[in-house]
């Protein structure tokens, strides 16, 4: 195997991971324009079992999360593979608090198209679905 190619792949993956980190930084700062700008015009966002298609719907999703005071408590890992980046994180929100859920482990899988998110999938990671209750 040509080590140069390996190195290029690694550099690309690092760049992808850095891009995704910057997206989550924007999310943490409730920076709506930056968050929405991270997506392609025809992007799709899957949230648990729901689907948000297009930038307008994706903007609405971000507004709803900010209104629910969704906070990223920590990012456990960011790993990339080809054009997708997987992020394991732990979140808390006003809405989760209402259900007596102090925090929730989640996973985001983001498929990139160049330097934008083409598809995002956010979902809880249920090891123990009632952990924290």
């Amino acid at each position: 195997m040509d080590p140069t190619i390996d190195q290029n792949v690694s550099v690309e993956q690092e760049a992808s991971a850095a891009f995704v980190q910057s997206y989550f930084d924007a999310f943490a700062a409730h920076d709506l324009p930056r968050c929405v700008d991270a997506y392609t015009d025809d992007a799709t966002l899957h949230f648990v079992a729901g689907v948000y298609s297009g930038k307008s719907a994706i903007e609405e999703w971000h507004r709803e999360r900010f209104a629910a005071e969704l906070q990223i408590l920590r990012i456990d890992s960011i790993s990339s593979n080809h054009d997708s980046v997987t992020v394991d994180l732990v979140v808390a929100s006003k809405r989760l608090q209402f259900f007596r859920i102090a925090n929730l482990a989640g996973r985001g899988v983001l498929r990139l198209d160049g330097s934008k998110i083409k598809e995002a999938r956010f979902s809880p990671r249920f090891c123990d679905p009632f952990e924290g209750w």
Partner: protein
């Protein structure tokens, strides 16, 4: 014991009785379950003792009412005692090979007690309730083929009719031909104001075409999921036939609890002690033992299942079990029996007790509910089966009589356990209303 039957328990989450053909539903949701009912016995009044899934399954396995086993809600605040009886454990001790296809033990370890095999394909999903009947059957059927020469107890827990309702594409043509995202349809507006509705609005109510607005569409999705799981039931029962096991297998099928679709302003969830959530299907097939096509009118509850199965296999029923065997009713050896009253509770989103007789139901709240319903509700189930007209004022004498019976039962059961606190008050709901 040598001739005792195999046991196959099919528990279907969130399955209400009145959406099956054999319970009078008009849509063709349940050909396989209707067939099972024709081959055996069907209970008209099988009443869930504890909503939702955790209380109900704990009741199923322990043969105890929630007031005894103490699991009155989801969540870890209550833990099942080690001394609680366990149906799978007893059957294992009786020589059965025990197998569950389920995922409840991921959250609460006691759901694994007594199961030598615990198969959980939901581990492949990020959300455990997404597991589909096809995945469970893909593991259950090979297991049946490889263990069919042993006496077995298999429990299959299907989740398909539990929200979010996401039936496979092949059911898309069924039961609906409108516009699910019609912006002029406001049939779900009231739901968005409820905390559970807000969660649904931001998750599974969102489609590529926008926000679902038509409640009738969601009800159709529920019915599609019933048809979906019905196909799964049909496949599993066909496999039992193919393995030559049907003749000597006692099959029980029931819902753990029902589902409110839009009734009483409770949208697409299983809370509220109304018939939609309490009355579940129950059917039993045991060739040459249970007469085909029989319909049983006496009330039964989930804690009656374990004693019934233990009697069927000739095992002793532990005195700690509250339930009583309904096997004589199922086999036609007895016509009378069942329960004069069925007591139920819930404590996840609401804290309520209910006492149901053949004719009436009293619902008693231990905390204000989120819908502003009164603390006491009384319904005439014969004249008003949909429970629209609260008679608590105009039939105050009856309401007081039923309330005294309910409070007396609660006090008696607590005293027998040396406890004083009503478990619903002690636990509180799983909502943080502060």
């Amino acid at each position: 014991m040598k001739d005792s039957p195999n046991i196959l328990v099919i528990a279907i989450d969130s399955l209400r009785a009145d959406h099956l053909g054999c319970y009078g539903y008009q849509r063709p949701t349940s050909p396989a379950m209707d067939g099972l009912a024709r081959q055996g016995a069907r209970a008209q009044q099988f009443v869930c003792a504890g909503l939702p899934t955790h209380p109900s399954f704990t009741t199923l396995y322990t043969g105890q009412h929630p007031i005894t086993h103490g699991i009155v809600a989801h969540g870890p605040r209550n833990v099942l005692g080690r001394d609680a009886p366990s149906l799978p454990q007893i059957l294992m001790d009786e020589g059965y090979t025990t197998c569950a296809l389920d995922n409840l033990a991921t959250g609460r370890i006691w759901f694994r007690r007594g199961f030598e095999f615990y198969i959980d394909p939901s581990m492949r999903h990020t959300v455990y309730i997404d597991v589909a009947c096809e995945e469970l059957n893909a593991r259950a059927i090979p297991w049946l083929k490889s263990h069919g020469d042993e006496r077995f107890f298999m429990m299959v827990h299907y989740w398909d009719p539990h929200w979010p309702f996401k039936p496979p594409e092949r059911y898309q043509h069924l039961f609906y031909d409108g516009n699910p995202t019609d912006p002029d349809n406001h049939s779900l507006d009231a739901w968005w104001k409820h905390p559970l509705g807000a969660v649904a609005r931001d998750t599974w109510m969102r489609t590529r075409d926008g926000l679902i607005t038509d409640a009738a569409y969601i009800s159709a999705l529920y019915d599609r999921e019933i048809r979906h799981v019905d196909d799964g039931v049909g496949e599993l029962l066909a496999a039992l036939d193919d393995c030559g096991l049907a003749e000597n297998t006692l099959v029980l099928l029931f819902g753990d609890h029902g589902e409110s679709l839009v009734e009483h302003g409770i949208f697409f969830d299983h809370h509220g002690l109304y018939e939609t959530t309490l009355r579940v299907p129950f059917m039993a097939r045991w060739p040459n033992r249970i007469p085909a096509g029989s319909t049983l009118s006496p009330m039964m509850q989930h804690h009656d299942v374990a004693p019934t199965l233990l009697e069927a296999v000739g095992a002793l029923v532990p005195p700690e079990m509250d339930g009583r065997s309904v096997l004589p009713l199922l086999t036609g050896q007895a016509r009378d029996g069942g329960r004069k009253q069925a007591i139920s509770c819930e404590c996840t989103w609401q804290a309520k007790w209910s006492l149901r007789t053949d004719e009436h139901k009293l619902i008693l709240a231990r905390a204000p509910d989120l819908y502003g319903n009164p603390e006491r509700e009384l319904y005439d189930l014969k004249a008003d089966p949909d429970e629209h007209r609260n008679l608590v004022t105009e039939a105050g004498g009856l309401a007081a009589e039923l309330e005294a019976a309910l409070e007396g039962w609660i006090a008696e059961r607590l005293a027998a356990q040396g406890r004083a606190d009503d478990p619903l008050r002690a636990h509180g709901t799983s909502l943080n209303l502060a």
